[in-house]
Amino acid sequence: MITLTINGTQHQVDLEPDTPLLWAIRDAVGLTGTKFGCGIAQCGACTVHINGQAMRSCSVPIGRLEGASITTIEALSPDSKHPVQQAWLAEDVPQCGWCQSGQIMAVAAFLKQNPKPTDADIDANITNICRCGTYERLRRAIHRAADLMKA
């Protein structure tokens, strides 16, 4: 039994310690907002916050997470009004949407570090893949979210 603290709730999962967090979240806990895209930390679709830091949950073994605080897209905000989510709506960013939970979680953590990012900062930090190619709007939305946060 491993105890995972996800979105403020404690979940007892009876899984092997080397199980990637992604599958504990999706299959054992049943939160499906966190997505599977590659399984080897390449695409970022599975990004969650672990103690406030954006991590790719497909590559985080749960054996290391006792006591850690995990936040998934479902709990980024209570009402979908996190500045990043608002910016995403305003720019109509998502297409198929599969990558977007990860994009939003990555950007939310990133903007905490870089409240006023340059395009270069964004390029270096947001390496999530979007197969639909929403990058044009995604970049605009990141800047918009940064402004919303200041306001």
Binding site: I73, L89, P94, C96, G97, C132, G133
Partner: protein, 732 residues
């Protein structure tokens, strides 16, 4: 939001959670002005089983006494936005209060039972709108007319004196009004002796303006339900390994090695694959699967390679069976006519679709009845494919279509659904089958490889006088449809070559189809996605060889074609075409027609002396003839360019010992933000009797535009994709 708790699927719940989620969102986002009065879709897009509702006016429309309207959408939503645009067209005629509209997927099962009442259901070939337009406008107009008729009858006035707007019917002379909700039940009973005419786009008052996509609200908080998100009580998770060599068979596998592994794994042998179903997590199934050492019967293809295929394709240029696709003038004469002549061979590799959501399907079998939860581009066709495969009645298949995590042409093969059903039958439990990324890449139905040989001649003025193109490529038509049309031409193989708009007096376009053991399929802009790169490169070659501006050459070749010229000019005029650039920087143009739209692009690139390429900027123009939702058109153009750019820069599936090599995103590279160019899109609507698509047309030109820009920057001509395999280094 419903996404916060694990959902247990009960058919009633789909709708309930859908509604609450949607309702919640409307409140949640009303702060954003442009979302006020928006219609809604469910976080779970699939509707009630069988798709019936006592209060429906017809199969498409349900109006409740409180005026809330349910519109059923018959195709797929994979980000292309037609789940928003198609209902917009319907409501253009229905004239319902958009803020009271909810949209859900039409039921494929009902479509089967009620003789295709929704028509076909597929979203591919950019056809969701262009092929739905007349149908759904008619549906909306018919309902509106019946609502008015019902009100007129109540008032006992001539229907002609009544009008409808915003869910309210008004009697002109008396000014009396009645709400849709009040007359919906009566309207449902009315049969019209004559269907009303539908509006021409110039009369539209509602459609045609930018409209935020309805599904987006569920895609910012994890609520949107995709196929992989379905949860059925008691389901087990399945992972699968298919024969590394496509077409090969499973010989044997020692199941004993998974004994005692977590999740009580069960090995299921399929004809061409081995699957493992495990309890608890998909990961357990995947780990047990990885422990198996199956033996495969790969047959002769087991020794083939990419190099060999390209050798054979090149040889086939002179030995294959030629089918003529287009012929004008006398090419041979013109080529021998003493002008400058050109010859070049262009090569493009196999590609995988690689939608972001790997293929998956969830299945529950209950006696005769099979419930399937899957994101598919064609709910009807997959239902029929499954019925045919298992020799069962299509009526017994209940396919609940989900949001697609990308499709690009791959999500209509039903192969993953058939596998999931086979596993569920074997383990006697509901099953969620998920392909690993490696399986998804290596067992794609690929974009075919192609070798295209051009011959050309230019006249005294340097303008092309002859163009011959002969392609050798795999046959998408044979693979996907099973037979060629009577004329024997695989029309996909020459898309982009035969469809070129250039007024070259002598032209001959020829097709030779040659398949390998790799299955090939529709891949965003089939045929176009490789041929436009080739022909636009060759046109460029002839222009530069005669010291002519590639833009001017194209303008001259397109003389008399106002729509082509307008699209070309829109792209070029909005770029900095003609402004001088330093060595290592350059601009390139490409243009094509696809799905009756036109798309032109100017790419601006930087190439470092080490040969590293960065696409800085793309200026695109698209003429879709008509526009239902300009916002989604722009989004599709932006996305299609990035999709084509990943392929142009990095995309290839190599074959070694008969097996596709690239597996995950570390070997099958994708453009990320850092490589994404600045894109601006200019939209035209030239009208006419055809409607153009928006999803495909922007993908074909980008490779050509970038390759031509690289030539302008370095003097190096790229004739083989991907670009990363070309040495572009230069000395300053």
């Amino acid at each position: 939001m419903d996404g916060n708790q694990s959902q247990v699927l009960s058919r009633r719940k789909f709708l309930v959670t859908g509604v609450t989620a949607a309702g919640g969102f409307v409140i949640g986002i009303s702060a954003l002005p442009h979302f006020a009065n928006a219609a809604t879709v469910g976080a779970q897009p699939w509707g009630e089983e069988g798709g019936h509702n006592p209060r429906e006016i017809d199969a498409w429309i349900v109006i409740d006494p409180d005026d809330s309207v349910l519109i059923r959408y018959q195709r797929a939503e994979m980000g292309q936005g037609s789940m928003t645009a198609v209902p917009m067209m319907l409501n253009e005629e229905l004239q319902a209060d958009w803020s009271k509209v909810k949209v859900e997927f039409a039921s494929a099962n009902r479509n089967v039972r009620e003789h295709k009442i929704y028509g076909d259901m597929y979203s591919n070939g950019s056809r969701s709108i262009k092929e739905s337009q007349k149908l759904v406008q008619q549906v909306g107009a018919s309902a509106r007319t019946r609502l008015i008729q019902a009100a007129a009858t109540k008032w006992s006035v001539p229907a002609g004196e009544c009008s409808a707007a915003n869910s309210v019917i008004t009697h002109g002379p008396s000014g009396r009004t009645m709400r849709y909700g009040e007359v919906a039940a009566d309207a449902a009973q009315i049969k019209l002796d004559k269907e009303p005419d539908i509006k021409t786009p110039d009369k539209w008052t509602f459609a045609g303006k930018p409209m935020p996509r309805l599904d987006v609200v569920h895609k910012i908080n994890g609520a949107a339900k995709f196929g992989m998100d379905a949860q059925v009580p008691g389901m087990v998770f399945a992972a699968i390994l298919q024969c590394p060599v496509p077409g090969g068979k499973l010989k044997s596998v020692d199941e004993s090695v998974v004994a005692g592994m977590p999740g009580n794994p069960k090995v299921v042998k399929l004809d061409n694959a081995v699957a493992v179903a495990a309890e608890g997590t998909w990961w357990r199934a995947r780990q047990a699967l990885a422990k198996l050492q199956p033996e495969w019967d790969t047959g002769a293809p087991g020794s083939t390679s990419t190099e060999q295929f390209f050798r054979e394709y090149r040889a086939a240029l002179d030995s294959g069976k030629i089918v003529t696709a287009r012929k004008q003038g006398d090419v041979d004469k013109a080529l021998g006519g003493g002008g400058k002549t050109f010859e070049a061979v262009y090569e493009t590799p196999y590609l995988s679709h690689s939608p972001m959501e790997p293929l998956n399907a969830t299945v529950k079998i209950d006696g005769e009845r099979i419930d399937v939860w899957v994101g598919t581009q064609d709910a009807l066709d997959e239902t029929e494919k499954v019925a045919e495969h298992f020799k069962i009645e299509a009526e017994n298949i209940y396919l609940h279509n989900a949001y697609c995590g990308g499709g690009f042409g791959r999500r209509d093969g039903a192969d993953e659904v058939i596998q999931a059903i086979s596993v569920a039958k074997a383990v006697q439990k509901p099953v969620k089958l998920i392909w690993s990324r490696e399986e998804d890449t290596r067992h794609d139905f690929f974009r075919p490889m192609a070798v295209v040989r051009f011959k050309g001649a230019t006249g005294a003025d340097g303008m092309p006088t002859a163009l011959q193109a002969r392609t050798v490529t795999g046959s998408v038509v044979l693979n996907a449809i099973g037979k060629l049309p009577p004329n024997g031409l695989d029309f996909v193989s020459v898309q982009g070559l035969a469809t070129n708009g250039y007024g070259i007096p002598n032209m001959l376009i020829e097709s030779i189809v040659k398949d390998t053991h790799l299955p090939v399929w529709w891949w965003r802009a089939p045929g176009q996605n490789q041929n436009v790169f080739a022909i636009e490169g060759f046109i460029d070659e002839m222009a530069y060889a005669n010291n002519l501006d590639p833009y001017e050459v194209r303008r001259k070749l397109l003389q008399g074609k106002a729509d082509w010229l307008a699209t070309l000019d829109a792209a070029v005029k909005n770029s900095d075409w003609g402004k001088p650039l330093p060595k290592g920087k350059g601009r390139g143009i490409a243009i094509c027609t696809d799905t009756d739209s036109l798309c032109a692009q100017v790419a601006e690139v930087t190439v470092t002396p080490k040969g590293e390429v960065k696409v800085d900027r793309v200026t695109a123009a698209i003429d879709t003839r008509y526009q239902v939702n300009p916002l989604t058109i722009a989004e599709q153009v932006e996305g299609g360019i990035i999709f084509g750019l990943s392929a142009a820069l990095y995309g290839k599936i190599d074959v070694k010992d008969g097996a596709p090599v690239q597996g995950n995103f570390d070997t099958y590279r994708m453009v990320r933000l850092a490589q994404a160019p600045k894109i601006d899109v200019h939209m035209l609507a030239s009208g006419g009797d055809k409607w153009g698509g928006a999803g495909e047309p922007s993908t074909p030109p980008i490779a050509g535009a970038v390759a031509n820009a690289i030539f302008a920057a370095t003097g190096k001509r790229i004739r083989k994709l991907p670009i990363m395999d070309n040495d572009l280094s230069f000395t300053v």
